[in-house]
């Protein structure tokens, strides 16, 4: 496996423009002849499919939901970053770039991150023109809020539904192209494998989720925009359907998987309330603008929060990180919460919770102001917990939320399989070992609107692609393989449900490959995951048939892939003998308990090559070269 990041030469701030000036172009007449498959209709896929359609390509877009508008991006609450500097508070492309690189604990690729910052402003322009109702100030100009890890206010938002509004914007652009005849959307259609012909990605095999039929689709290039893999933990803030299957199937066909151990456990989620729990609900990080995080000073304090006097509360984020306080980055806030609970100072049933308290801000600003800022989040909290957060502090606890790792891509967003591009959360490129709030929406839209439409042209103009159709041997063979796998899952007819295995895997992963990790724990986890995977293939039960609407079958295929991914995550975490961002190895910490990086040995991306489900994968390395940023111990004190 050869890793060439193809980073353009020249000064950091000029790389992207220089490249754009020299990219090969596809003529309008030829664009009409080129077909592109876009898997996923979230921000990344929706934006890409719409923009490619506008350019005149023939696009087929796929999603597993019943409508493109329901991709998981819809659930993003807090906001989207851009270096507009509308607040005149000193923001710039460079500062957004720097914050993102630092936030990622210096484990991302400088050139990609700079490009992200550079196009961020154009995203906001595009979205406003589409009719996205971002919040505004009384003069009618755009408003901003602050998010973790930044000292400027650069986050644009639409109430607590920023992701919804952005996605509906991308979806409307997609619809305009459907009307124009350039894009065909295939909802309720799941990609189950990638078709590789002569070493290039040339198509996908899908399952129609209504009648179960398998179909092969061929194209000149394939874009995976299939989101993240936090559902490997079973309980996460992701939508129930989120999964790694598309990325994992591509990995099995030769796409390198980068930094799988970099996952984000988000600090502000509603704590688990019982065994039956099916998912965890995020309480947007934006709440930390006005909420104060605390636990009782002493363990075992059973008093109601209101009865605990100020002097007996520990506002631990404000105490430990005075410069950023409650807006300390996610990895740091999550670990601090875990530590407080490990010390026995947690609150609520099960004692895995900390308070997020609005009393002070309600006193200062009034309940009405807090209601306009966060009304829907407060309502959601009350619906779920039955408690009124205007009166008693919220209880929160960290939950798996985002995956920084993903398929490896070069600067052009192309994976190690030529013709396979990966966009959005599914790739690994921009967030290093920890993602800052409000930067995933930015990245998805940057990739989809402003990067892939350019870099894909270069590939198509430069590649000699033979005509292929679905009768090609590779298509038939891939369909057969998918068929066999489905049949195999249905044939086990064991005694345990898919969910029961998934829950068990999730608990194991959370314990061993979650907020803190050790060599022993990871080694043991790898063995346990293998055993559990074997048990799965011998004892799972999948009711019904393949040729029908069968939600258990859908889950069964995804969980099978989660097992293989889980093992790779542990292996990657074991191999990375340092702590960085969300990857915290207990063996490597400073005296104050902060992540201790090892830049001499681990300033690289680890890219895994698949060798077979029962074989040890091969690790490759892309060194990270920092030309502009000085590597420093990350401090938010």
């Amino acid at each position: 496996m050869k890793l060439d990041a193809r980073i353009p030469s020249g000064p950091l701030a000029e790389k992207w423009m220089n490249l754009r000036d020299h990219l090969k172009l596809v003529s309008p007449a030829n664009k009409r002849k080129r077909s592109i498959i876009v898997v996923g209709t979230g921000l990344a896929g929706g934006a890409a499919a719409a923009s490619l359609g506008e350019l005149g390509y023939r696009v087929k877009a796929f999603c597993y939901q019943d409508s493109a508008r329901r991709a998981h991006s819809i659930a993003a609450q807090g906001g989207i970053n851009a270096s507009k500097n509308y607040q005149n508070d000193g923001d710039s492309d460079f500062r957004l770039f720097y914050d993102t690189v630092k936030g990622g604990d210096f484990r991302s690729r400088e050139a990609n991150v700079y490009r992200l910052a550079e196009v961020s402003g154009a995203i906001i322009d595009q979205c406003v023109a589409q009719g996205i109702p971002f919040a505004r100030e009384y003069g009618g100009y755009l408003a901003n809020r602050s998010f973790g890890g930044a000292q400027v206010s650069r986050t644009f938002y639409a109430r607590g539904q920023t992701g919804q509004q952005l996605l509906l914007g991308a979806y409307s652009a997609l619809n305009a192209q459907v009307a124009a005849g350039t894009v065909e959307v295939h909802p309720r259609t799941e990609m189950l494998d990638l078709v590789v012909i002569d070493g290039r990605a040339r198509g996908i095999v899908t399952r129609d989720m209504v009648d179960g039929s398998l179909e092969c689709h061929v194209a000149d290039a394939v874009l995976l925009c299939t989101g993240g893999y936090s559902n490997v933990y079973f309980l996460s803030t992701n939508a129930k359907g989120c999964n790694v299957t598309a990325a994992w199937r591509a990995h099995r066909r030769g796409a390198g998987f980068a930094n799988p151990c970099y996952t984000q456990i988000h600090p502000t989620c509603i704590p688990q309330s019982g065994e039956y729990q099916s998912k965890l609900t995020l309480m947007s990080e934006s709440l930390r603008n006005d909420g104060r995080v605390w636990v009782p000073l002493k363990g075992g304090d059973e008093r109601a929060p209101g009865d605990i006097p100020e002097a007996e509360r520990d506002y631990y984020l404000e105490r430990l990180y005075p410069a950023f306080g409650n807006l300390a980055p996610r990895d740091i806030s999550s670990r601090a919460a875990k530590r407080a609970c490990d010390e026995g100072r947690g609150v609520g049933p099960g004692k895995r919770g900390v308070y997020l308290d609005f009393e002070e801000s309600i006193g200062r600003l009034g309940e009405d102001v807090i209601r306009t800022r966060y009304g829907n989040l407060f309502d959601m909290y009350e619906r779920i917990t039955g408690e009124n957060p205007y009166k008693v502090p919220m209880r929160i606890y960290p939950a798996p939320h985002y995956s920084m790792g993903g398929l490896w891509v070069d600067y052009y967003l192309m994976s190690t399989i030529p013709g396979l591009f990966v966009l959005g959360e599914a790739n690994f490129s921009d967030h290093g070992a920890n993602r800052l709030g409000a930067s995933a929406l930015m990245q998805g839209l940057a990739d989809g609107y402003f990067v892939a439409p350019y870099t894909l042209g270069e590939y198509l103009a430069g590649a000699k692609l033979d005509e292929v159709d679905t009768s090609h041997e590779s298509c038939r063979q891939t369909v057969n393989e998918v068929n066999e796998r489905t049949a195999k899952l249905l044939a086990v007819k064991g005694s345990r449900s898919v969910d029961s295995f998934h829950r068990e895997l999730g608990l194991l992963m959370l314990d061993r490959c979650g907020m803190s990790r050790t060599a022993d724990g990871l080694t043991d986890a790898i063995a346990k995951i293998r055993d559990l995977r074997e048990a799965y293939w011998n004892d799972v039960t999948v009711p019904g048939e393949g040729a029908e609407f069968n939600q258990e079958l859908e889950k069964a295929g995804r969980v099978a892939d989660h097992f293989e991914l889980a093992e790779l995550m542990c292996r990657d975490a074991l191999e990375r003998e340092e702590s960085c961002g969300g990857h915290f190895r207990e063996e490597y910490q400073t005296d104050e308990g902060e992540a201790l990086r090892n830049d001499d040995d681990f300033c690289h991306v680890t890219v895994w090559e698949y060798n077979g489900a029962d074989k040890v994968p091969t690790a490759h390395r892309e060194p990270l070269e920092f030309e502009t940023v000085q590597l420093a111990q990350r401090s938010y004190k």
Partner: protein, 258 residues
């Protein structure tokens, strides 16, 4: 708590379907309604029966995937909420709960509680957008928008496309949904150039689907999880009439296939 569930079971679009009754013991009051169905499904799988199919994804009330009728009310009777946000603390021990899919000609049943809402996508494809090529937008602050205007548009933009409005309308009308999009885009300055064409094209597309007409029952507004106001319907009618009388713009031209 103990519940008796009467659940609509239908194995595919051609099947006639019917209710089946299930007893569920030990329902925890903190569970969400969908988690209660998860528990039922785990039971059914354990007994070798087919689990109940229902659409869901975010389980946070925003993706619009979930939705069915609980004891005669779309999304259940907690106002301003989707099924996934409804918790079992709103039920009592011994309750009988009837669960059935959206009933509307335009939304054929796919399986059990799952219906086909693609008619909504087709309506939005006819004109539910502002045409703006990627990269051609002016600076986002070029046009100031008064906060009241903005908030007004946002009230309509919140629609999640769940279909409860159609399901609860005695005529199965889609007006609340269509009105919401027309109002959202039509209130904003960016949406003015296509405002009347948009109304024309979307109303035409709606009429090509199997939705009924609006006779002002306002049942839609009462169940809408996002509390979308029927004022959107008035805006839609106004923009549509204006488009007809002034003869503006295009009609979508195509009668779309169903």
């Amino acid at each position: 708590m103990r519940l008796t569930l009467h659940v609509w079971r239908q194995s595919n679009a051609r099947d006639k379907g019917g209710f089946k009754t299930y007893e569920l013991e030990d329902v925890n009051t903190h569970m969400s309604f969908l988690e209660m169905l998860d528990v039922l499904n785990q039971d059914l799988i354990g007994r070798g029966e087919d689990p109940v199919a229902f659409d869901h994804d975010c389980r946070e009330g925003i993706c619009g995937s979930c939705g069915f009728v609980i004891n005669g009310v779309a999304h259940g009777d907690q106002p301003g909420s989707t099924v996934c946000q409804l918790h079992m603390r709103h039920f009592s021990d011994g309750d009988e709960v009837t669960i059935e899919p959206w009933r509307a000609k335009a939304f054929p049943v796919v399986r059990d509680l799952v219906v086909d809402r693609s008619a909504f996508d087709r309506i939005l494809t006819a004109g539910g957008f502002i045409t703006v090529r990627t990269g051609s937008a002016p600076d986002a602050n070029a046009i100031p928008i008064a906060t009241e205007t903005l908030e007004h548009a946002m009230d309509f933009a919140e629609c999640i496309g769940c279909g409860a409005c159609v399901a609860s309308c005695p005529n199965s009308a889609a007006m609340l949904f269509v009105g919401a999009k027309i109002a959202h885009l039509g209130i904003l300055p960016q949406g003015q150039s296509e405002r009347h064409q948009r109304a024309l094209a979307m109303v035409e597309a709606m009429e090509n689907e199997a939705f009924g007409a609006c006779t002002n029952f306002r049942a839609c507004e009462a169940v809408c999880p996002k509390e979308i106001s029927i004022a959107g319907i008035a805006r839609m009618n106004k923009d549509y009439r204006k488009a007809l009388f002034s003869g503006v713009g295009f009609s979508s031209g195509k009668k779309r296939k169903r």
